[in-house]
Amino acid sequence: MKVLVPLKRVSDPDNANKIKIAGGKIDTTGLEWKPNPFDEYAVETALRLTENGTSPKQRLGEVVVVTFGPKETEMTLRAALATGADRAIRIDAKDEDLDGDLIARALKALVEKEKPDLVLAGKQAVDGDSNQVGQLLAEYLGWPQATFAGTIKSEDDKSLVVGREVDGGTVNVRVTLPAVVSVDLRIVAPKSVTSKHTPPTHNYADGVRFAALMAIMAAKKKPLVEVKLADLTTDTALKIKYSAFEPPAARKAGVKVKTVAELVGKLKTEAKVL
């Protein structure tokens, strides 16, 4: 199976409260860049689908990672190569010149060249919080989609049964490949991804795999090519434009209560919610 995984680097989501807004613009200076966590889960999922989990160094399929960004974003791709992805593509672009729709249209052109069996994406990037690229791409390709995947079972290389996490529970769908799947948090649980290559008794470590030092060195030699955005799409107009950003209104400081009785009293008489 050949899997394409789009990756985005984001400013450290654990420091999102440190972002500065000046002159109506967001300033992320000083924040550390990290791969979008959902995209890391997508890479892990792709690796699990293309290996025997008991001997993960021997790859049984191809995992291609792709990002949009300037030269520095190659670090994000190298990190994915170090965990086991086979090759990488960087589409040269600046963040401010992109929106979800343009990314989806460019990815469509890339998919038509690369012909993967599956596109595995994170369900959303934790900076823009837009949750749309996977679904847009599926529509542009005319492919089926399975969003918010918490489990994936591949019975063969032609179809997947995907457990989609929806508001009221889990919806199981069977998609015939090629398809787009976007992944949710629990896709990296020990038994959430099963394929015919890995013995059913195998338990994965919880979460995404770490790269060994040797693998990090080896990843420097793996193929990484640069593609111009204009080679994928000539229509680079943005469909969404931001005019301003502002910080959220501060919540007024609350009070500490000393006892449960005092808490209940305040909820009854002050907040009047009981």
Partner: protein, 317 residues
């Protein structure tokens, strides 16, 4: 301007999320119609007809029994085109988030997600939406003539029926996309709960990892007493102490009840993003330095395993 509101159904009734999408239309202040899709949608259509819509359009077909984006999106796009709608709106539930982008792509429309506000300046719409887990708000405009948006349910109060009855019109369902033949609905494992939905609950009792295996044992009696929904932090869901559909946060459900109990929740920004719009927040945590206390209206520094039973006793008085 002409707005198309996409209804969301639960069995044969409208979900409350639909009422929030109607409120969006009313906030814009333009005429709107409601599209109801499903199989056996008469009851939902009658409900939809009480909100003051110009029309209620009903796509009732066996092929629409389960909400699959590959089947719903072509019908929505067809209706949007045929009726010359300028704005298509869904609520940003898992249903809306799944379907709306495919509709936007079909219409060549820009799609702004999870919006928390809208301003109509003489026909020019500006949308407000949270980014960076709610640590900033962006104001954006959609550049295309047709616009698709999903709205954050917690920021658009449920519309009340305004009386009267809109005309109900059945529409023929367009042929499905080829993609529809390659996706099959297998099963729904519905979360079994007698409690209110997180998006609709007035009171939410939410727990964190500190509850460990005693999550339900400790929280359920309190939730039962208050008629509350139960929520959970990502950490509690990740650790397997609570099922995934209970997750409140940036990547889970976004809620804004009258009263939110954060019990044994430290207050990671991803969780705060999902609950800090709540009207009253109570935090119970034994760590006085926990960030949750910075957003809590009422903070109680105490071990939850003693505080929660005591709270139940006190409330019963």
């Amino acid at each position: 301007m002409n707005i198309l509101v996409i209804a969301e159904l639960h069995e044969d009734s409208l979900r409350k999320s639909t009422h929030s999408a109607v409120t969006f239309a009313k906030n814009v202040g333009a005429p709107f119609s409601i599209l109801v899709l499903g199989s056996g949608a008469d009851k939902a259509a009658q409900e939809a007809a009480t909100f003051g819509a110009q029309k209620v359009l009903v796509a009732d077909d066996a092929s629409l029994k389960d909400p699959l984006a590959e089947r719903y999106a072509p019908v929505i796009a067809q209706v949007a085109k045929a009726g010359n709608f300028d704005v298509v709106v869904v609520t940003a539930s898992s249903y809306g988030k799944d379907i709306a982008p495919r509709v936007a792509a079909k219409l060549g429309a820009g799609y702004a997600t999870d919006i928390s506000g809208v301003k109509n300046d003489g026909g020019k719409l500006t949308f407000k939406r949270p980014v960076y887990a709610g640590n900033a708000f962006g104001y954006c405009e959609i550049q295309t003539p047709v616009k698709v948006v999903s709205v954050r349910q917690s920021e658009f109060a449920a519309a009340e029926p305004s009386g009267g009855a809109s005309p109900v019109e059945k529409i023929a369902v367009a042929a499905a996309d080829p993609a529809a033949a390659r996706v099959e609905f297998v099963s729904l494992e519905a979360a079994k709960s007698e409690r209110p939905d997180l998006g609709e609950a007035k009171v939410i009792v939410s727990g964190g990892r500190a509850l460990k295996e005693r999550f339900a044992e400790v929280l359920d009696p309190l939730a039962n007493l208050l008629g509350a929904a139960v929520g959970a932090s990502r950490a509690a869901c990740d650790a397997g102490y609570a099922p995934p559909e209970l997750q409140v946060g940036q990547t889970g459900r976004v809620v804004a009840p009258q009263l939110y109990f954060a019990i044994g929740i430290s207050g990671a920004i991803q969780h705060l993003a999902g609950m800090k719009g709540s009207k009253n927040i109570v935090a119970i945590n034994k760590d006085p330095e926990a960030p949750i206390f910075q957003v809590a209206d009422y903070g109680l520094v105490q071990d939850l395993f003693t505080a929660v039973p005591e709270l139940i006793t006190e409330l019963k008085k």
